[in-house]
Amino acid sequence: MKNTSIALSFSVVFAATMLFAAQGWCAQPGAANPNAFNRLFKPKKYNLPPAEDAYHDPESEEVRELQAPAQAFQSLPKSASGNKVDWVKAVDEKKITPVWDRGDPAAQAMPMDLDIVFEVKGTTPDVVYPHRQHTLILDCTSCHPDIFVPQKGANQISMAQIMAGQKCGVCHGSVAFPIAECRRCHTNKKTVATRKGAPAKSNKP
């Protein structure tokens, strides 16, 4: 009697373990091939509906009334990160027409087409800062003079500051495209000496 009960309980534990293990192995991509790419990669979920994301309380009935980001984004141009939306392109292609002035529906942004080149250490491509894309949605006073001194060469910017939420990092990383998108800012490729004594060349404008 005791033996059967032990055998029964062991078989239950074994069955549960096998069931779980099978689930776990099936869920992992590349389980069949141990040398597949991205062994430790967990696919990140984007544009989750409010009731399923990390912030909203799924127990609240009103949360179900809120719009799902994926629904709003389906007609907008795509990008690789952040909201997965290319917001600048969306404005340029008039997919969205953000209101510029609450008191005047006819008011339009006055974009300023001025590029600022920031020379960067080493072989990292220089940053070309385009005023145009920023002035489509922002006012001069949003950045000047509190965040950036409006004078070329007067701003000492480092990636450490940006990652700590200063300078460009006030927006980039929080609401504008994240810092991992290096080449969207570091665009101006340069050819510099990689060895001592080699002639230094630069195509800085």
Binding site: M1, K2, S5, I6, S9, F10, V12, V13, A16, T17, L19, F20, Q23, G24, A27, K42, K44, K45, Y46, N47, L48, P50, D53, A54, Y55, H56, D57, S60, E61, E62, E65, L66, P69, A72, F73, S81, G82, N83, V85, W87, I96, P98, V99, W100, D101, R102, A109, L136, I137, L138, D139, S142, A164, G165, Q166, V170, G173, S174, V175, P178
Partner: protein, 141 residues
Amino acid sequence: MSQSFSTSIPRKFALAGMLFLAMMLGRVEFAAAEFGDIVINNFSDGVGMRPVVFPHWFHRVRFACKVCHTDLGFAMKAGGNQLDMAKILEGQFCGACHDGTTAWATERCALCHSGRAGMPNQVNRNKDPKLTEAAPAPAKK
């Protein structure tokens, strides 16, 4: 014999169940927040309301950044405005649009107060004090 039969099976079943549950729990993946969503919890927890979740994406489709960050004076820091309902009912900050005309009025509490309880001010699940302003200490009576 009969005693061991009556006690051993439930215990083993409970053990199996617990083992199974623990394994399932270990597999739970924590969901992401939408990029740019801000949690504002200056006073909400203290008065038993859910914290506010502000979706940047919804607002930037409709308004230029400048409308709120220049015209309405919103600081560019999570929790940086020390928002309370008195300011909003006066028509400042959110209250400039959330008046029942441009956007839902303040009676629809739970549409904004929609977050999980107990979350501090934060952006993109990042609670770094460099990016966020801590909630003010509760007023003493």
